[in-house]
Symmetry: C2
Subunit: 267 residues, 2 copies
């Protein structure tokens, strides 16, 4: 259904704005994605928003018109509103022209087809939404199957994580589970578990990677717990020539993932 | 000098808090760095804060005591204050136990010794402080000499950029200049300018890199201007197997920098 909302105090605006907070997302099972680029990625991956907010103050892009048509055809709502109200929804002064409200999706670990991709990213207790979203984006680029979130990670459906994913939240499978569930599942089938760590002298370029390769990255501040490192098939380290012995977690994952991809490309 | 501040309305607290805003940083030529880890990196790199704020509510770490001694010996101030006031300075609920106020440092382009390192990172119109700080951190890890900021980049001395740099703001040289200054300087001496771009079919692993290698990364949304790409000695592309043809700018820089480092390591 298409309709117009002009008032800030409209209950739907309040409800959608509340999705910026995790407790409301979990209660509703919904999340926000912003911007035509990300919404188009979503559409191409087969995801349509239940509600699409668009700005009446600007002319619609052809991709936006196509998206609107599909949302309406699927029984969703298209809500026309002002730039000011979109600002309120997005929390940004310069809001994107479209905002979508999507149903949260999750892949149960047991239904994951590990052989559907050569690379899987695994993050343990990742705290920063920007890092989490960036890992999804990197996963998309290296042709990974998805991101497995272990233990208490930041919510992948936060506005910041979705934004940093640049749409990869829709194209990468997303699993949330505990280490105690992940490890037995992993060992039921093929899969090389590779941890990046400072507690090893193995150069990451000397490692020999085999598909499906699960690249495990630990918490930003603590790294991987020792017990998790002990279960890895291979622990490797990137050379660090500087004063600080560390890389950003999303950067370390990407450098590692490209090394694995490069080895697979060479065959 | 050592002193104690207990009131939120103390003018020094207001002044230091104002350094969270760019216009006040530029007026004072000062910036904030938070946390013992970063302040220790700074000290090891030869930088002491003009003012050091520490929390009276907690026992001091031995590194903190050593830092305090050096700050006092150098004529700086050590200000003891409460966790609440530190929170106000840092803008975080859970503040670090120490905050330092440092003088902004900059390296003029003409005094940069290009042969002092094999790798230099160059960012053009980088907008995100997290990306900028992450690039500094990556530069430190790959043994780069520094980061050259071209055109209108986000302020490298913002709290977010300094935090993301994890101290590399103190260990990497930082140059801020325009493209019209950079290019003539570059061409006066040795230096390979390598751009990462989607407008090429050259695989980044096929490129042959020579030191000093300047890795040029463009704006997060627009990439490099065409005219800048035309001046590169080499344009290369990372393989992108996903739906979206893009990587986070700081991630792309890191993947590229590690490839260059790996080639140099092989000799």
């Amino acid at each position: 259904m298409r309709r117009e909302i002009t008032g800030f105090s409209n209950p739907l605006i309040k409800r959608v704005r509340s999705l910026r907070e995790k407790k409301h997302r979990k209660r509703e099972g919904l999340f926000l994605a912003e911007g035509l680029r990300i919404l188009t990625e979503a559409r191409e991956a087969g995801f349509l928003p239940e509600m699409l907010f668009r700005c009446t103050d600007r002319d619609a892009h052809s991709l936006e018109i196509a998206l609107e048509g599909e949302v309406l055809a699927a029984g969703g709502d298209v809500i026309e509103t002002s730039a000011d109200i979109l600002s309120k929804l997005s929390g940004k002064d310069n809001p994107q022209t479209v905002i979508g409200v999507y149903r949260e999706m999750a892949t149960p670990l047991e239904s994951l087809d590990r052989n559907s991709a050569q690379i899987w990213l695994v993050a343990q207790a990742m705290r920063d939404p920007g890092n989490l979203g960036t890992m999804l984006r990197t996963g998309d680029a290296v042709g990974a199957g998805g991101l497995i979130l272990l233990d208490d990670c930041t919510d992948p459906f936060s506005v910041e994580a979705v934004r940093a994913s640049m749409g990869a939240i829709f194209t990468q499978k997303l699993v949330q589970c505990r280490w105690d569930e992940f490890l037995p599942w992993l060992r039921e089938g093929a899969g090389q578990l590779v941890g990046t760590s400072l507690q090893t002298d193995n150069d990451y370029q000397e490692g020999r990677y085999t598909a499906p390769c699960f690249i495990l990255t630990g918490n930003e501040a603590q790294g991987l717990p020792e017990a998790y490192e002990a279960e890895c098939d291979l622990l490797v380290k990137m050379p660090m020539l500087g004063k600080a012995d560390s890389l950003n977690a999303a950067v370390a994952t990407a450098v590692m993932a490209y090394e694995v991809l490069n080895q697979f490309r060479r065959g």
